[in-house]
């Protein structure tokens, strides 16, 4: 049953030794033959620890996928990348990131963009996109870990704006990075190693280079118009 394979995520190659075939199947869109940057191997002990995080019992093969994700997320900051909980969306060539605690309606809001803009909108990742802090700006990357909705598209986009979503009457305003720090910090994957966590915080400071908005919205066309007009700087015409 043991599998050795490599996947390319956020332009980095991870060689994985897994106990179950399922992990390879789960990552099938990201398989590569390129030389690896990192090696990841899961242990039974880790899978048990992983189970301990959930109140529901999951099959070991599923737990192994989340375990591999955790390994990757712990390594990414070493290569100037972080995992953020949110929905990363690509519209034309621009990337936008919607963040909020689970259940607020990030995915629902992203789907409104798809409803009104059609194929011009792609959801890069619906739950855990990767942010790469490059000399060229901040790049949103996809990966197969995309939450219960299971939405991802193997593509990238340069991050143009972050939208902190909450429910309410439709309204949007731009906020300072330091005023949005709390909302951002709680959605970031914080590595357990001290030096890597420190690196993560260092990288986060670079988010001050993009526009950050606080969006209050319901589920309506007006909700879409509110975020679309502010984030793109365009006026939506149908």
């Amino acid at each position: 049953m043991e599998n050795i394979f490599s996947i390319k995520i956020a332009d980095l190659v991870f060689k994985i030794k897994s106990k179950f075939d399922y992990v390879k199947e789960f990552c099938k869109d990201f398989l590569t033959d390129e030389p690896s940057d990192f090696f990841i191997e899961t242990t039974l002990e880790e899978l048990e620890q992983e189970q301990g995080l959930y109140s529901v019992k999951y099959p070991l093969k599923y737990l192994e996928t989340t375990c591999v994700y955790r390994h990757i997320a712990q390594l990414l900051p070493l290569k100037n990348r972080v995992v953020m909980h949110g929905v990363a969306l690509k519209y034309l060539d621009s990337g936008f990131l919607f963040i909020a605690p689970s259940g607020v309606g990030k995915t629902t809001h992203a789907k409104l963009w798809q409803e009104y803009l059609g194929e011009k909108v792609e959801i890069i990742n619906g739950d855990k996109p990767i942010l790469e802090f490059s000399d060229n700006g901040i790049i949103l990357h996809s990966n197969p870990w995309c939450g219960k909705e299971g939405i991802y598209k193997k593509t990238t986009a340069k991050l143009k704006g972050i939208c902190i979503v909450s429910r309410g009457e439709n309204n949007i305003c731009q906020v300072d990075f330091s005023d949005s720090l709390n909302s951002i910090l709680v959605q970031i994957f914080m590595p357990t190693k001290e030096d890597v966590a420190d690196k993560t915080l260092l990288l986060l400071e670079k988010l001050s280079s993009v526009k950050i908005y606080k969006l209050k919205c319901n589920i309506s066309k007006n909700a879409f118009l509110t975020s679309y007009n502010a984030l793109t700087g365009d006026k939506y015409e149908n």
């Binding site: 330091s178 720090l181 190693k193 420190d198």
Partner: protein, 88 residues
């Protein structure tokens, strides 16, 4: 009095944040924001200073009485103890 292992402080723009790493991150999943004064207190605790020693330092450096300084430091220390970030 000392800061428990695994907690790190970092300045992000004009704010100071404390996050848990390693073993500490298993029980502490939140993060806290410190103001300038709390950040200085944090550094002094890290250097092994007691509340009294930090208060004396504050009296030397700021326009503050020993009583007021001690009171303010204790307020911040008690929050950090309550949060489980420092132990006595």
């Amino acid at each position: 009095m000392k800061i428990k292992q695994g907690f790190i402080k970092r300045k992000i723009q004009d704010k100071y944040v404390v996050v848990a790493t390693g073993e500490a991150s298993k029980t502490y999943r939140n993060f806290i924001e410190l103001n300038q004064t709390a950040s200085v207190i944090w550094d002094e605790i890290k250097n092994g200073k007691t509340v009294d020693q930090i208060a004396e330092l504050f009296v030397k450096e700021y326009l503050v009485t020993l009583d007021k300084a001690t009171q303010d430091i204790n307020k911040i220390v008690s929050v950090l103890i309550k949060e489980g970030i420092i132990c006595e």
